[in-house]
Amino acid sequence: MEISNNPRPNDVQPTALRRMTFIWMFTMLTLFPVLLVLGFFMRALQANFMSKLQPEWFYAVLTLHGLGMVGIWYVGSMAGVSYLLGRYVRPSLAISKVAFGATLLGVVLLLACTLIGRMGVGWYFLYPLPLHSKGVWPPWATGAFLGSLAVFGVGWTLWSLDLLRAIAQRYSFSAAMAWHYLKGRSEPEVPPLVLIVTVSMVSALAGFVAAVVVLVLYVAEWLGTGFTNDALLMKNLTFFFGHVLVNITMYLGVAMVYELLPAYAQRPWKTNKVMALAWNTVLFLVMFAYLHHLYMDFAQPHWLQYLGQIASYMISVPAAVVSIFGALVLVYGSRMRWNMVSLLLCFGVMGWAIGGVAAVIDSTVAVNVRFHNTLWVPAHFHTYYLMGVVLMILGFASYLGEERGQLAERMGLTKLTVSLIVVGGYGFLLMFYYGGAHSVPRRYASYPQEVAQGAAYARLALVFISALLLGVLLYLWDTGRRCWRSFSVSS
């Protein structure tokens, strides 16, 4: 299979890197259906099934589901780009192992504080909620929660730094950022993967710095020193970190599409001036887009609110014009080899586009005042997450399974699997969107009478989640056996 920007005669990566990537994918794909079932559980509670269960379980599971999903797809995208970067540079296997160990430890702490400690603070642990348990979670759970975030942060920061180090060994910073393309030069050739990973890792480091500051400020108050934090500052730091992390996951998924899709379309997709300009613009705008999370904090300086809307609108232009349009042109009229990998990558780009539209709508201040913290919010981020970057990463995992082509793909099974995922996924999302349009709040263990229709939407969502879950299980079975065979061959 010919790959664009072909740097090495043999695309298959060294055995040790392949093995580590398989371990990452195995871990991620084991946790995925578990976290999906937790999502089913929450919608079942909202549908008034299991109504005798204490509501704190809903919030604890919500925390585990949210942080778990954000975490597994972040490491999944990092593992994917690390593997593909191996075509050009040499990321450290040792650092990947350190990140893996940190991730496992963080997961154990997270499981303990949510499922044993019943800590229910959401993925964003908005200050000062972790310090106000109302007797639901014990102090050790707060410590374990902050500890898990610290462990994730250390492991993932090291991993990000290592990818930048690996890139720097072959490309200068200006070359990796493709600045020479802006001056009209195309030498040295920089693959889009390298450009996007560089942009993403620089953003990631900025986000991790904010996360460290948040954790330090939390610990300072938690230790009972009498120090009290500023709620607005903590909110800005938290959403900056959270928004950047989620955006980066998306960009890393897109980087994999840039790297893999050309081989299936049998056309090149190379860095050019417009692409360089677009991704450099993204690096700048991603620093300000998070501000849309704080529109309803009227105490925030108003110019920051306006900046948030402008940045949120403008960041979608390079994404839509360069990456989404570029993917469509790449595929249009090509000799496309349709299979599980290419279908998932293309549906992933489509989910990014549709979710992006919903996100831009919600990033309009005048609209946000009627949509903020309704079901519209999980609707749009599940669209570009579940139907976007998750499909891209699942596409990458399938690519691992077919890289050595040991088991032939059954196209009938592939079509059934993808159909179940797409129909189930979008049906599930539609219930979120419809609920948001009818003012149903998000993050409610059960619905009060004013928004009681939310329970009916949740029941319908359960039908679609069941189809999605079935599709995911089929995917895991099929991809799992193909990956296993491929792994056996490479070991």
Binding site: L126, H132, W338, V369, N373, Y433
Partner: protein, 185 residues
């Protein structure tokens, strides 16, 4: 209801995007050469078109934010204080936990229809969110209730009936039960 209009607008755009993707996928049934010239022209058109649309939307929507001074001098001021897991609404300032507790048991605040109200919203513990629902149970306005800050939300309450306040920021185990009411006669 504006939310429904936004929903259907989004659905139309989503269907258009899905149709484009399906059409592009379908085009691969018959392979053909794609010349870069027309593709670049189309991309330029797409870029300019999208930028113009966004700039137009910014020009139309930015003056309509809830911070703009559409209501320069409100008829009434209502103090709102959130605390796990109730809101207290009062036309008198609430600054202590005792006043908050009394406020949670007090009779609902009542204003005449057409009154412009400034809600001064804060919290005594964690972040909450003051979500104001119309008598028809549509979310009409909201602002965060944040410890250490007072957010001022100005709304004209035209429709008579009972308005419900729901907490829209996750605040603990009984977040979904946190509420208050006020009446517009």
């Amino acid at each position: 209801m504006p939310q429904e209009q936004v929903f259907y607008f989004f659905i139309v755009l989503a269907v258009v995007i899905a149709t484009v993707f399906v059409a592009v996928g379908w085009s691969t049934r018959q392979a053909r050469e794609v010349h870069s010239g027309p593709a670049y022209k189309l991309r330029k058109f797409f870029f300019v078109g999208l930028s113009v649309i966004f700039l137009g939307l910014l020009a139309v929507t930015l003056p309509r934010t809830p911070y703009s001074a559409e209501i320069s001098s409100p008829d009434r001021i209502v103090h709102v204080v959130g605390k796990q897991f109730a809101f207290a609404l009062s036309e008198s300032p609430i600054s202590t936990e005792k006043e908050w507790e009394e406020g949670t048991y007090a009779a609902p605040v009542e204003v005449p229809a057409g009154t412009s109200v400034e809600f001064r919203v804060t919290s005594l513990d964690v972040n909450h969110s003051f979500g104001l629902y119309s008598p028809g149970h549509h979310l009409i306005a909201q602002t965060q209730a944040m410890p250490g800050y007072v957010n001022r939300l100005r709304v004209r309450l035209e429709e008579p009936g009972r308005y419900t306040v729901l907490c829209l920021e996750m605040c603990g185990m009984d977040h979904h039960k946190m509420r208050a009411v006020m009446d517009v006669k």
